[in-house]
Subunit: 324 residues, 2 copies
Amino acid sequence: MTDITMIRAAQARLAGHARRTPLLASPFLDEIAGRRVLIKPECLQHTGSFKYRGARSAISALDADTRAHGVIAFSSGNHAQGIALAAHEFGVPSVIIMPSDAPRLKIDNTRALGAEVVLYDRAGEDRDAIGDRLSAERGLTLIRPFDEPQVIAGQGTTGLEIAEDATALGIETADVLVCCGGGGLTSGIALALEADAPGLRARPVEPEGFDDVARSLRNGRIERNTRSAGGLCDAIITPQPGALTFPIMHRLCGPGIVVSDDEALHAMARAFQRLKVVAEPGGAVALAAALFHADEIVGDTAICIVSGGNVDADIFTTALARFG
Amino acid sequence: MTDITMIRAAQARLAGHARRTPLLASPFLDEIAGRRVLIKPECLQHTGSFKYRGARSAISALDADTRAHGVIAFSSGNHAQGIALAAHEFGVPSVIIMPSDAPRLKIDNTRALGAEVVLYDRAGEDRDAIGDRLSAERGLTLIRPFDEPQVIAGQGTTGLEIAEDATALGIETADVLVCCGGGGLTSGIALALEADAPGLRARPVEPEGFDDVARSLRNGRIERNTRSAGGLCDAIITPQPGALTFPIMHRLCGPGIVVSDDEALHAMARAFQRLKVVAEPGGAVALAAALFHADEIVGDTAICIVSGGNVDADIFTTALARFG
């Protein structure tokens, strides 16, 4: 089970590899939000999302013999790219299993980062069976996207950096708004804050229609989304919180916040205009919460993660056209 | 005259105020460029450009009595915003003289940062006369946009950071590509590199049609542009290199590189896709040189400044539509 010792160990393994992202701010965003807003742009992380942290943490934690056989992941998105790059850096093979209808660009990018991409037919093939077969044949280690102790530890390094920077700024209390899918980033940050900045409280933020974490926290038990795909914020849509991540979030997090797809697009346009960073829709929900759900947030300061920036030009253009 | 001692002093005055921008990179950009490319995103600096550094350096260097009377600048762009914010931080007045046909958003932004904006009619009024009158009446100090020793010193802090980060990465020789208008940033960086990383060489990069610095360096004397406005890269278009900046550039810089407006737009799209940062056209010319003028660059590594990100949504959308 992930604890602060594992997060600090992950930080040591990531040193010199993961980017130390800064905290950004703009007086124009403070004015919209009605409080000070600090933004941690993990879109600037390698591969364009925080997922590289967890991927490198997990791969670096394997013993060398196990690692040498390679790793495998199921993902068509940010986790895939993080795993591909981290495996490439260690010079070990990675296999990413993706649906054959995944966007061409994501397939190409993942291959370009050094991974072997295995495509499967969503309708007719069982991806788990394919994964099991490949793992058995080649001795690959499965790296899950969030419900994996060393992945949570890697994402938690984001929280150590927030705690350090907030302390340096004299910030003792704040809501820390986290874009939340399965809860790997949120639970990792919550553990780091508990240890290093206990006045800071993690708050998961989700898109409307996919508020499984907010409902699970409210009801004290894991609840599922009725839909498992289809929203604009695809990067952070998962069926339900993880078996490992939920108990951590339940113990440490404040209530979830739910934002609309339009609010996410609006936040993308403000991040473009005021911060000069590119946010993907799912990566913009925490900033959307800070800007447009101020009455649900406590305190003079809100800290937001922009969790990723892997967005197609057409969706980004839509955000600018509607809210530029 | 600006020297390394002044740059180090400016760095001390800027500590805790200017953002320490990181070096970004992407294997996809390395592949296009055919060498390692490191990007320093000054678009993430306060007010969206490096200009804040020079503005705060100059205002902080004034004696307290002089500063208390306030400062004045002529600018409709990034220098205006840098001056407005830095003056506001010191609690002193700033007056920005802008043409009355400047974009509404730039006027509003500059006012929102705390400046008094005085508009003049380009056709019928003499802006220098207006500035002289206001300065005399109120005791304002003029802060020039580049030909000002403490402004050059402030921009030079960018070079100290590059030298420090390059040394930490073991980079001993590289061309450092700098988006160049009047030469404040280029000359400041050149002085910093001379002192702290003498194997790194500054190279000014300009847009086609406004290559006054490249021609001046080639011919060993200050030459003017035939046009003074009208290009896409408005942020870095000036009539000629400065009387203070040119001798520094002539002594220390490698040859200038000239890129097309299309190459600048293309570089903006690649910065969006691979770095997740927003570059304005003039802020993208150095990256354009690295990506599309590889044969004019020397060595295994190129370091590029993205000097600013203050671009309207419509121009950004054009870049994505054409090169996304």
